[in-house]
Amino acid sequence: MKKELTELLLRLGDDALIAAQRLGEWVSVAPEMEEDVALANIALDQVGAARLLLSYAGELMTEAGESPAAAGGGVVTEDTLAYLRDDREFRNCLLVELPNGDFAVTIAKLLFLSAYQRLHYDWLVASTDERLAGIAAKARKESAYHLDHGTQWVIRLGDGTAESHRRMQAAVDEIWPYTHELFQADDLTRRLDEAGFGAAPATLRDAWLAIVEPVLAQATLDRPADGWAPADGWAPAGGRAGLHTEHLSYLLAEMQVLHRAHPGAHW
């Protein structure tokens, strides 16, 4: 199961890392100075979680003698994984890589992602893999704060002015289709679930809706109409298999530029 566990760690770690990278773009341009602090804080939590998850994944890969193509062997660290993989090797969901858009889009992404991460980490606290369980125990508390922050803003914007209501509804409508991917099952999730390593994501969706729907209702926002099955609506996916949007490779070009320009250097 080492291989499957590694893959799970990459999914979780890449979600956190790419979310952090997008949140980091808000620093010094947030709508309030308090929000500069808050978004940087959430970004910091996500980088922290990403480091724990990717370090663990790197250790497992090192043991297995695997490494990203661009690294060409050797010890795989958190930085090897963050800086020396191409977009086709990243395993994050599409939602986190989408551009920030306006503040409403960022907040919609924050609400949907943090509710999912909160539930997933909650589940993983009981993972049969103890180290992962430990990481989850730390991360779930942070996710709870992120979820609270996202919730407060969705309500404020949804139930604020006509303009903020319009923007928040548009953001929810735009991001909603990307939430389906969070709960998609595949061979890996099935095997992980059987082994007790990680949650079958599909089982989290009801709990997720139970968090998200009341927030939208309180915010006087319409919950987008969709069926859950892809056939019933647009459910873009592919991130878990390394099939991303055109946005990710730009994000990585920027994120990795310095590290890659100085091969082998220490920082």
Binding site: A20, V29, D79, F103, R156, T161, S164
Partner: protein, 311 residues
């Protein structure tokens, strides 16, 4: 008058003036100007370093830099709060900044061209800030002094991190070492200029010293900073770009070349490399966030009204 006498006595006894105390108008104005400029500097200062968050070369450095820039936003917030104890609002101060009637530290009008600049800002710019600010922890105005204690503690942490970045670079590959030296070459004189014009040309200094807002002259602080840096640069194995820099046995201090004060004046008056960019950036963030702040206010008002109905 009695009030003035009491004020003078407090200052004389090295006690703190508090918001409820009477104070001369000019003392109040001087403090507002200085604290606001300091707060603005923290907020504008997020930009040059924020420029490298997305490109930090390791996840550890990314985390440290995010935390640092977050600290700066935090410093800005409690410095604005300190200024508000003097009877102005943060919004008023931000407007004064936008109208160009208040300044921020001119050091932030230089661009961060490479990762090493993040190190140089930490080591030199935060270093200079600390030398400037440590005496302010004993400033006669209580809220400012207390804010500065917290700020200085965090700044010295930042300075150490910047030093560590440079240390790693200077002991890294030749390209890394060259990057570090290049950054120091560009940031050295602007950092010296952070202490302001020479004492002879300094307009506000004498009164500020009398009020114990300021404790040392610009030149004294500048000298202290130079002496501190020379030692540290040696350990870094990097040079300071001043051929005249040498120990003066008689003065027990380093002789050094003064920064170009004409350039300083030009940058202060708006013609530095990034003045327009920094202000445009801040104005755009403020303008684009307007609908969010309005929404938050509208929601708060609705909640208050609902609470009233419910009560």
């Amino acid at each position: 008058s009695d009030l003035q006498e009491y004020f003078d006595a407090v200052i004389g006894a090295d006690q703190k003036i508090e918001p409820r105390d009477w104070m001369p108008d000019s003392y109040r104005k001087t403090l507002i100007r200085q604290i606001a400029q300091h707060a603005h500097s923290e907020i504008i200062g997020m930009q040059p370093e924020g420029n490298w968050i997305s490109r930090a070369p390791s996840l550890k450095r990314k985390a440290i830099l995010l935390a640092k820039v977050q600290d700066e936003a935090g410093h800005g917030l409690y410095l604005y709060a300190a200024a508000e104890t003097l009877g102005v609002t943060r919004d008023e101060l931000v407007d004064l900044l936008f109208e160009g009637r208040q300044k921020y530290s001119s050091i932030f009008n230089y661009p961060t061209l490479t990762w090493a600049d993040v190190g140089a800002i930490g080591w030199l710019v935060d270093g200079a800030a600390i030398v400037n600010q440590v005496p302010l922890c004993r400033c006669s105005y209580g809220p400012y002094a207390r804010a500065m204690i917290r700020v200085c503690k965090e700044e010295s942490f930042h300075q150490r991190q910047g030093y560590e970045i440079l240390h790693t670079l200077s002991h890294g590959t030749p390209a890394q070492k060259a990057m570090a030296q290049d950054a120091i070459d560009r940031w050295w004189y602007p950092s010296l200029a952070m202490f302001g014009p020479p004492d002879a040309d300094s307009t506000h200094s004498a009164q500020s010293m009398a009020w114990k807002i300021k404790r040392f002259s610009n030149d004294e602080l500048r000298q202290r900073f130079v002496d501190m840096c020379v030692q540290q640069a040696e350990i870094l194995g990097l040079g300071l770009p001043d051929p005249e820099l040498r120990w003066n046995e008689q003065r027990q201090a380093h002789d050094f070349t003064q920064p170009d004060y004409t350039e300083l004046m030009r940058v202060i008056s708006g013609d530095g490399p990034c003045n327009r960019q920094r202000m445009d950036h801040r104005r755009r963030a403020h303008a684009e966030g307007a609908w969010v702040r309005e929404a938050a206010a509208a929601y708060a008002a609705k909640q208050a009204a609902r609470a009233e109905v419910a009560a």
